[in-house]
Amino acid sequence: MSDLVEIANLFQSYDGRRNILNDVSLTLQKGRIIGLLGPNGSGKTTLIKLLNGLLQPSGGSIRIGGLEVGTATKSHVAYLPDRTYLQGGSRVSDILALFQDFYEDFSVEKAGAMLESLKIDPSRKMNQLSKGTREKVQLILVMSRKADLYILDEPIAGVDPAARDYILSTIINNYDPESALLISTHLIGDIEKVLDDVVFLKEGRVLLHSSADYIRGAFGKSVDEYFREVFAC
C-alpha cells in the first residue's frame, strides 16, 4: 500500500510558547479508514486544519500525494468541518450548484441520488432542516467529491442513532481503495467497527498508531475501552 499522507516532525504553536502539536510524524495509506482519536484539546482539529492548508505549520512538513500542502493539494482533499460554513438561508439546490462550480471532482448526479434516497427536497433551505438532516446534507456534499483524502471532523456528533447509522453506511458505501478517509471523533464506540486504523493523540503527540483489530487482539478490549484506559483522568 502506498503512503498518501506523509507528516514529518510537525510542530504547531499559536503563541510561540505552547506547542499544540509537538513533533507529530505520521503516514496515512490509501484505502484505509483511519480514526483520529483524542480528548478535547489534544490537537485533532489543529492537525486537520493543517492537512487542509488552513494553517501554516510552525515547523515540519505535510505532504499529500507527494505534494507539500498548499493550493495544489486543496483540490484533492474533501473536508467536512466540525462547524457548518454553509449559509442557513441557502437552498440545498443552490449549494449543489456552488459545489459544482467550485470543485471539479464534484458529482452532482451522485449527490442528487443520495439526497433522493433520503427524500431530502433540494428546494428546502438549510435552516429549515433538522440538525441531523443538515449533517447528512453536508456529508453527502463531501462524499460526492472524488478526492484522494476525505477528512471528517466529528461527523456523528449530536445526531440521533438512526442518522448515525446512515452516516456510517454512507462512509462504507463510498469506500474507495484509491483514497483515504480520516475521521476525528469522541464517539469511538459508535464508529470503531468501520475503522482500519486508529491514531491516538495526547497533548499534541501521537501516542499510538495501530490497526483497530490489533488493539482488540492484543488487549482483549474494544478500541473504546482501551481509549478510556489510556486517557483515564
Binding site: 453506511s169 462504507i172 469506500y175 467497527k193 482500519d196 483489530d213 482488540r216 475501552e225
Partner: protein, 119 residues
C-alpha cells in the same frame, strides 16, 4: 440491520465465525455465490478491508473459493463443510461439558440433563 459483533475481539475473526456458521448451517449452500465485499460490509456495518481479510481467511481454509470471473463462491466440497460442522459441534459440546462441570454436575448427571432437555 448491522450484525451483532463484539468490540473487544478482532472483528475479522468474528466475521469468519459468522460466515462459517452461515455456510455450515446451509444458509449459503455448497457452490452458492456469496455477496460482494461491499454488499456484505454495508449489511454488517463493518469496514470493507476487514471483511476482505475475513474472506482471505476463509479462502485459505478452502471453504470459500474465488473465481476470477465469477466472484466468490462457497466450496462445492461437501466433505470439507461437513468436517467443519463436526469440528464446531465438538467445540460446542466441549464448552457445554466444561460449564456443566463448573456448575458441579458429574458426567452422568450432565448426560441425564441433556437427555431430559432433548426430549
Amino acid at each position: 440491520m448491522a450484525w451483532d459483533l463484539d468490540s473487544d475481539r478482532p472483528i475479522y475473526l468474528q466475521l469468519v465465525d459468522r460466515i462459517q456458521m452461515q455456510i455450515v448451517s446451509g444458509q449459503y449452500p455448497p457452490g452458492e455465490k456469496l455477496p460482494s465485499v461491499r454488499e456484505l460490509a454495508v449489511e454488517a456495518a463493518v469496514n470493507p478491508n476487514t471483511l476482505q481479510k475475513a474472506f482471505a481467511e476463509l479462502e485459505r481454509s478452502g471453504l470459500v473459493v474465488t473465481q476470477r470471473t465469477n466472484g466468490r463462491n462457497v466450496t462445492k466440497d461437501e466433505k470439507l463443510i461437513d468436517e467443519l460442522r463436526q469440528k464446531l459441534a465438538g467445540e460446542n459440546t466441549k464448552e457445554y461439558c466444561d460449564r456443566m462441570r463448573k456448575l458441579g454436575y458429574t458426567p452422568l448427571e450432565t448426560m441425564e440433563f441433556l437427555q431430559k432437555t432433548l426430549k
